[in-house]
């Protein structure tokens, strides 16, 4: 298989989202690391260099926007694309997150069928 293998990261405290992500991405050879909050995320980012980071907007402690800001400001992820996600979206959410530093937005419920394709697409754009 000549398909590139990417490094994905998920920052979300919801157990079900974590599990689903793991199962879905697990069908592919890509690498996935998961953090449940900002602190864990920053710790992981000391070791990992993900291509795409999916960040849930509602996190305990620092929220998704703040995490995105910090990562970008301190360049903790080497310029990784950040994708926002949330269950509490409405019309205009995409515009709002794009203005706050994210490069993409996917609403919850995550579409398992297209999730990996989507992430691969975002990762491809970087190179």
């Amino acid at each position: 298989m000549s398909k590139p293998v990417y490094n994905f990261m998920l920052i979300d405290d919801d157990i079900d989202t974590q599990r689903i992500f793991r199962m879905v991405v697990g069908q592919h050879p890509h690498r996935l690391t998961i953090a449940g909050n900002a602190t864990e995320a920053f710790d992981i980012l000391k070791e990992e260099q993900p291509d795409v980071i999916v960040i849930d907007l509602l996190l305990p402690g620092l929220d998704g926007y703040q995490v995105c800001e910090r990562i970008q400001r301190d360049d903790l992820a080497g310029g990784a694309d950040m994708v926002a996600t949330t269950a509490y979206h409405s019309v205009g959410t995409k515009e709002i997150v794009l203005a706050r530093g994210f490069s993409e937005f996917i609403p919850k419920p995550l579409d398992s069928a297209s999730l990996v394709n989507f992430l691969e697409q975002v990762a491809r754009r970087r190179n």
């Binding site: 919801d14 079900d16 989202t17 689903i20 199962m23 879905v24 697990g26 069908q27 269950a87 509490y88 409405s90 019309v91 205009g92 995409k94 515009e95 794009l98 919850k108 419920p109 995550l110 579409d111 398992s112 069928a113």
Partner: protein, 463 residues
């Protein structure tokens, strides 16, 4: 003001006299306040009439010279005629006219008496004048009664001024002051009664205001609760979606076709549930007034085309057409919240497609009015029965749920459409004929002046 109906007369009058009595004295109105007023007028008019009649007859035998023989009966005749006029007016329902007739009659008569005969006992006239003023109070506006009372006293004072005897003057003045004072007291009491009634009405109004404010708060709380619940419900629903998807895509192991099919059903129901929650949230936000419009300059023709094209997928397996027409006067630039407008149009077109089996759905955009532009969505579908037109925009109302079982919606779509349209400052109307078709018409304001004063246009972000 509470209206109490007057009890009907107990027995039909038998004798002609009783009939006359009833005709003259029993008011015909059923409103309690008017009843009392009318009865007062009738009684006073009758008394004036009888008094004038008797006095004019009596004065014929008490004249001192030819002048008196003519003048006094004539004066009483004035009163007699005016009282008769009053009675006639009362029987014809003109209470105001009757009141004025009695008052004017007594004014003329009294003034003439004072002018003619300085020694005439003015007290009688004063009393009768004031009586007519009290009567006038029941029909005249409150301001007028004070003027009438003032003139009555003045007219009654005239004889005293010409009297040479100081004792006479004093007694006349005393009588006038007493009677005027009594009248003033009576009027004061009446006005304070009406003030009390006014205050009661104001208290009631205030209570209504308070109740309304409380109802508004409760409504707001309910909308907030709905919004919160919708949020809470989404989390587990999303998890269920995710797990079901993993299962049915075989990511957790191979499945039989039956199992896949069942999971498909679960997924469908989940989608429907999520749509319902989103709609409830939309409705709650519109109701609580927390929906904000993100208005930008947009080309309505481009937006409508984009929306229509996105819905072409719904035409699969349906043998109907979907067309858009822009008339010459259709606007090319408006200020609108594109996303919400698309939401409205998607709902209307989606519905039209859902309920049409043959023919098609036709969208027309026109601007044949200087203040507004219109979007019409016409379909040749099953139509809406006349009774249903009244409630289709209500929440959770669907037309004839038995036939629409297969075309399930949330029942909130049109409520949201109506709410958003009104938020845009427009209105939505529907015309329909069962088995022929339905036309929804959106009338939206052009907002000309707002477009002219905008300093920069915004680029539309593609969603």
């Amino acid at each position: 003001m509470t209206t109490t109906t007057v009890p009907a007369p107990a027995l039909a009058p038998t004798s002609p006299l009783a009939q006359l009595w009833r005709f003259l004295l029993v008011p015909r109105v059923s409103d309690r306040d008017l009843y009392l007023r009318e009865r007062t007028i009738r009684i006073v008019a009758l008394i004036s009439l009888l008094f004038a009649l008797l006095a004019s007859v009596a004065s014929l035998f008490v004249f001192r010279d030819v002048f008196e023989f003519v003048s006094y009966p004539s004066l009483y005749l004035i009163v007699f005629l005016s009282s008769t006029a009053a009675m006639v007016l009362v029987t014809r329902g003109n209470l105001l006219g009757a009141g004025w007739a009695v008052v004017v009659g007594w004014f003329i008569s009294t003034t003439l008496v004072a002018a003619i005969d300085a020694g005439y006992p003015a007290q009688i006239h004063t009393a009768l004048l004031l009586l007519s003023c009290l009567l006038a109070y029941s029909v005249l506006p409150q301001r007028t009664i004070w003027i009438a009372a003032a003139f009555a006293t003045l007219a009654a004072m005239l004889p005293t001024l010409s009297s040479a005897n100081p004792a006479d003057m004093f007694s006349i003045a005393l009588t006038n002051v007493t009677v005027f004072g009594l009248a003033a007291l009576f009027l004061y009491q009446q006005s304070s009664e009406s003030n009390d009634r006014l205050r009661a009405v104001q208290t009631a109004l205030k209570a209504i205001e308070v109740a309304r404010a409380e109802a508004d708060l409760a409504n707001q709380a309910k909308s907030n609760f709905l919004a919160n619940m919708s949020h809470e419900l989404r989390t587990p629903l999303n998890a269920i979606m995710g797990y079901v998807d993993i299962l049915r895509y075989g990511m957790a192991g191979e499945l039989t076709s039956t199992q896949t099919g069942l999971l498909q059903d679960v997924a469908q129901n989940n989608t429907r549930l999520l749509a319902l929650i989103n709609d409830i949230l939309d409705v709650a936000k519109i109701e609580s007034g927390t929906t904000t419009l993100l208005e930008t300059i947009a080309d309505p023709q481009e937006v409508v085309m984009r929306t229509v094209e996105a819905l072409r997928g719904l035409l699969l397996n349906k043998n109907i057409e979907l067309n858009v027409v822009f008339t010459e006067d259709a606007p090319s630039v408006v200020l609108m919240d594109v996303t919400k407008f698309q939401q409205v149009l998607t709902n209307l077109i989606g519905n039209a497609i859902k309920f049409t089996e043959k023919g098609g759905v036709y969208v027309t955009v026109d601007g044949n009015s200087p203040d507004e532009w219109h979007v019409k969505v016409r379909d040749t579908g099953i139509g809406i029965p006349a009774e249903a037109k009244a409630y289709i925009f209500e929440k959770f109302r669907q037309v004839d749920s038995s036939t629409t079982r297969v075309r399930q919606g949330t029942g909130l779509g049109l409520a949201i459409v109506k709410g958003l349209t009104e938020l845009f400052g427009g209105e939505i109307t529907v015309e329909s004929q069962p088995h022929v078709g339905t036309t929804f018409t959106l009338s939206l304001p052009r907002n000309r002046s707002r477009i002219d004063t905008r300093s920069e246009a915004h680029e539309q972000t593609s969603v």
